[in-house]
């Protein structure tokens, strides 16, 4: 019996800690693949400490965790004392109320806090950007408070109430008696509460995601946006360090509790109290230092002698200096030293739309696709551009001007154009099956097919296959598309956007409809991948264009950015990285030859003729399509 017990314990521990072990081993691996250990290296750690951006993010997370823990611990302890002094019935009621937020799903807490902050900030105070560092801090304090109270309360209840009387009897005011006596009695509770709050704050993603703006992002929130490319091993190194940090904290906490329970020999107690005193002094100094550092950092980051330009772009949609490309943001900042670019990402047009319409954000420049631009124009979400600030507009090839989504070309300047086709893995997919969109409905590849996770592209695929108009407003036709998509549903492994990269590159899925430029990038990482535009069928020809949303605060800087991007040399350098077609005349001269000559990026004229663009759909139809797609996905 004992043996089986022990066996189960061991099994449970293996089950719990194997994932961490894999990660830790991976952080010392020379290769990128977690499955094969190619050799021991500390390079990942070196790279981690060289990556200023990542360290800054980690700094953000630690800053929020430390500040929110300090504040929540102070307030939580005081609240616990207050609740403790209440009459028993009221105390019970209040305690259950403070416990509810802990059991509340994070997503509910996150969204409700976000709504509240936007309501107060934008609704009542008229701020344009109501989600920022302070809302994030407030949110963390909010969800940390109950943990502190929960840990401190039992210590108060265990305390002999006569101790406070005794302190007052010996001349302490109530406040002095708290600091001279009570706080010592409840210290183990305060410490374990603080450690718990710290760990909760450090690893929170869901709530942070909803309550932070684009200027101040914590590590977990940022990591979520890394899904496009396989995660870089230096992240493993960072996770290993974080895991160790929390592990050490938890062990300390348990040791502290253990010590509280154990009685120690007299001499040791004496030494300890001396050590404890030194420890307290050091801890106090460290706290003061961290607070000071924090405030200095804050002041430094909030000082506004520079203009901040908030650019929101698709994931991996601008050359960033990796793989020998040009770092365009750095180049722009060099050209305009008084402008700081704050860059953030979205995964789909729909996500961008919901972020902007949710309010509370300041975004100065966005790069949505054609149909979304039409929708935003119709909903007054875009500002007309001042073309005097964009002299390079004359470089834009005429074909890409005055498109259906923006007929008078008042709101947008094209950024890239491209096609939507099918990317497949030639190792698994029979060339004979590669004909048209039907490949995505082929039963042979059940469970290996990926599909668009946005309604417009998903319905587009169905419409092109059925030979229907992609801009139709006929509900019967749309219903037919929905039926076809429902038929496809059992074959689909997953509905994806950016995750398509890792799935396809690692061979975990074989077939996916996606954008040509992204397909090129994937093909660079896996030579078995192929891309094609369906024969004899229509396909999507899209344009992504730069626009200025209504919430913009730095319109002139945004227009400078647009102008910068319309420079042939810049646009060409950009295409080297993102692998799309450039709408700028002369850009191909600055692109690498294999790209400029690629048929994937620049398909021959006779194929290109079959391309169709998404146009404007009335609000009602957009909603109708979104609902149909939701039903397809849910059934």
């Amino acid at each position: 019996m004992k043996k089986t017990n022990r066996l189960f314990t061991v099994l449970i521990f293996i089950f719990l800690y194997i994932p961490m072990a894999v990660l830790i081993v991976g952080s010392f691996n020379t290769g990128k693949n977690l499955a094969v250990f190619e050799g021991f290296t500390l390079n990942q750690y070196r790279e981690l400490f060289r990556d200023q951006d990542l360290l800054a993010l980690l700094g953000n997370s630690l800053l929020i965790a430390i500040l929110s823990t300090a504040i929540a611990t102070a307030f939580g302890t005081l609240s616990a004392v207050g609740i403790y002094r209440m009459k028993p019935k009221l105390r019970k009621a209040v305690m259950s109320l403070t416990n509810i937020p802990m059991t509340n799903p994070d997503i509910v807490t996150g969204i409700s806090l976000s709504l509240l902050f936007v309501f107060i900030g934008t609704g009542l105070l008229g701020q344009r950007q109501s989600l920022n560092f302070w809302t994030l801090l407030l949110a963390h304090i909010t969800f940390n408070l109950p943990y502190v109270i929960l840990n401190v309360m039992p210590k108060l209840q265990q305390m002999n109430p006569a101790l406070q009387d005794a302190a007052m009897d010996l001349g302490c005011t109530p406040l002095q008696s708290f600091f001279k006596v009570t706080i010592h009695e409840i210290m183990p509770g305060i410490i374990s509460g603080a450690i718990m709050a710290f760990t909760m704050s450090l690893d929170d993603f869901v709530i942070s995601y909803f309550v932070t703006g684009s200027q101040f992002v914590t590590l977990p929130v940022k990591i979520y946006s890394f899904t496009k490319k396989p995660i870089h091993p230096k992240i493993y190194a960072m996770f290993t360090l974080l895991f160790l940090l929390i592990f050490v904290l938890m062990v300390t906490m348990n040791l502290l509790q253990l010590r509280g329970e154990k009685q120690k020999a007299e001499k040791r107690a004496k030494d300890e109290s001396k050590a404890m005193r030194t420890f307290k002094r050091v801890a106090a100094a460290a706290c003061a230092f961290i607070l000071l550092l924090g405030s200095v950092l804050l002041i430094a980051t909030t000082r506004q002698d520079k203009v901040t330009l908030n650019v929101m772009n698709w994931g991996q949609n601008i050359a960033d200096g990796s793989d020998g490309t040009m770092d365009l943001i750095a180049a722009f900042e060099e050209a305009y030293p008084y402008i700081d670019v704050n860059y953030s990402e979205y995964a789909s047009n729909e996500e961008l739309y919901s972020k902007l319409s949710g309010g509370g954000l300041v975004v100065d420049l966005i790069i949505p696709s054609d149909y979304m631009i039409a929708r935003m124009i119709s909903e007054d979400m875009l500002l007309p551009l001042d073309f005097e600030n964009i002299p390079n507009y004359e470089n834009v090839i005429e074909t890409y001007k005055n498109q259906a989504y923006d007929p008078e070309n008042k709101y947008s300047v094209p950024y890239t154009w491209g096609t939507v086709g099918i990317i497949y893995n030639s190792k698994y997919v029979d060339e004979a099956d590669v004909t048209g969109w039907e490949l995505l409905w082929n039963e042979k590849y059940k469970g290996q097919i990926l599909m668009f996770d946005n309604s417009r592209d998903a319905f587009g695929v169905a419409q092109y296959m059925l030979g229907l108009d992609v801009n139709t407003t006929d509900k019967a036709e749309l219903q037919k598309c929905a039926d076809v998509l429902s038929e496809q549903r059992p074959l689909v492994q997953q509905y994806v956007m950016d995750q398509v990269y890792s799935k396809m590159e690692e061979g975990n899925a074989w077939i996916a409809p996606y954008y040509a430029g992204d397909a090129m990038m994937m093909m660079e990482n896996n030579e078995d991948l192929r891309f094609y535009l369906p024969e004899d069928q229509a396909f999507n020809l899209f344009i992504d264009a730069m626009c200025i949303p209504a919430c913009c605060q730095e319109k002139e800087a945004a227009e400078l950015f647009i102008n910068f991007m319309c420079d042939p040399e810049i646009s060409g350098a950009n295409m080297d990285y993102i692998c799309y077609g450039s709408p700028i005349a002369g850009a191909d001269a600055y692109m690498e030859d294999y790209l400029a000559e690629s048929e994937i990026i620049y398909p021959p004229e006779e194929i290109l003729k079959r391309g169709q663009s998404y146009g404007f759909l009335p609000e009602e139809i957009t909603r109708y399509v979104e609902n149909l797609f939701l039903q397809v996905r849910l059934n």
Partner: protein, 361 residues
């Protein structure tokens, strides 16, 4: 004083003299701890005033009163050692370090704990903790020291030692002690003045001897020691009638033929031959108590407790004589008829009252 509308203390009127050892004595829930907490400043009376040196201190918080307390279960600070516990009040008062040191050393000497300065509180015995608690209070040189059942948690032997110790310290330092206990023996042996309380009222105030010998009513007579209490009638001064006989007594000043309670202490009764006795009865139970026997004798259906060194077997017929000084006469009170009947006497009687400890609040 009222709690939640319930009257806890009623009509308390007490004077404390300087350098006095005064004891509040009473059963659980009689209001003695409440009285102490009012004096200490932890409770504010709903009506009435607390005067200190002639000044009303109702609104003075505990930390500004020249009064210190030894709490029921000591309430020593677990995070501090012996020295720091004792020095606590002096440090709060921000006295110079040298003075703190001398005064703490002085107190350690008084309570006999030299060499224990660095000992942790949870490494001390009950008696040592008790001494630390006393030292911690006295080191502040209060004018009044309040002691709330300070010996209740100690075993019998240690309790006796500490009683002597406390008395010695009180005399040595010349401080007024206000002492709360439910143990009548402790009260009688230590106090200058005993205040007997019950149901939130003072039943009697007096010197220990007076309280014992001249209890004012049946409650006091029963609570302080053992008493046989009988219904009687005061025929005239110095003449009281009970059990159909008139006895000579030392009491006077009653109305003619006033109904009274007659107290006869069990140890004051001596056996005589049945023929020579004022009364004759039958022994129904005998318990050996060490110093004496507790003998229950049935007199005409009324059972008396008699404490004597003469052994009598169960069933024996005995006679007793009562001398005038053995008889104490009291006015009738609300307690008449409730006490002093040993019909349901059992040997565990003593322990029962003592175990009914005292969680007063």
């Amino acid at each position: 004083m009222e709690f939640d509308g319930e009257r806890i203390l009623d009509g308390i009127n007490l004077y404390f003299n300087d350098h006095e050892f005064l004891t509040l004595l009473g059963p659980s829930g009689c209001g003695k701890t409440t009285t102490l907490r009012i004096i200490g400043g932890f409770l504010t009376p709903t009506s009435g005033r607390v005067l200190f040196d002639g000044k009303c201190i109702n609104d003075v918080p505990p930390y500004e009163r020249q009064i210190n307390t030894v709490f029921q279960r000591y309430a020593l600070f677990p995070h501090l050692n012996v020295y720091d516990n004792i020095a606590f009040g002096l440090k709060v008062a921000k006295l110079p370090k040298d003075e703190i040191h001398t005064r703490v050393q002085e107190m350690l000497e008084i309570v006999g704990l030299q060499g224990f300065e660095n000992r942790r509180i949870d490494k001390l015995s009950g008696g040592q903790q008790q001494r630390v608690a006393i030292a911690r209070a006295l080191v502040n040189r209060p004018k009044v020291l309040l002691l709330d059942e300070p010996l209740a948690a100690l075993d019998l032997r240690l309790r006796k030692d500490m009683q002597n110790e406390l008395k010695r310290i009180q005399q040595a330092m010349g401080i007024t002690f206000i002492y709360v206990t439910h143990d009548q023996e402790e009260a009688l042996s230590m106090s200058d003045t005993v205040v007997v309380m019950d149901k939130g009222r003072i039943q009697q105030i007096g010197k220990p001897e007076d309280i014992y010998n001249e209890p004012k009513n049946a409650f006091v007579a029963d609570f302080i020691g053992e008493s046989n209490i009988l219904d009687g009638v005061m025929n005239a001064d110095y003449k009281v009638k009970f059990f159909g006989r008139t006895f000579r007594c030392l009491d006077a000043g009653f109305q003619p033929n006033e109904p009274v309670d007659v107290v006869i202490r069990p140890e004051d009764i001596d056996f005589v031959d049945p023929e020579a006795g004022h009364l004759t009865g039958t022994v129904t139970s005998v318990t050996f108590k060490g110093l004496n026997y507790d003998i229950i004798v049935d007199f005409k259906g009324f059972k008396w407790l008699i404490q004597t060194t003469d052994h009598q077997p169960v069933g024996a017929t005995v006679g007793i004589r009562l001398n005038p000084e053995d008889i104490h006469v009291m006015h009738k009170s609300e307690y008449s008829g409730l006490f002093g009947d040993y019909s349901s006497y059992s040997a565990e009687y003593d322990e029962l009252t003592e175990d009914a400890d005292d969680e007063e609040e």
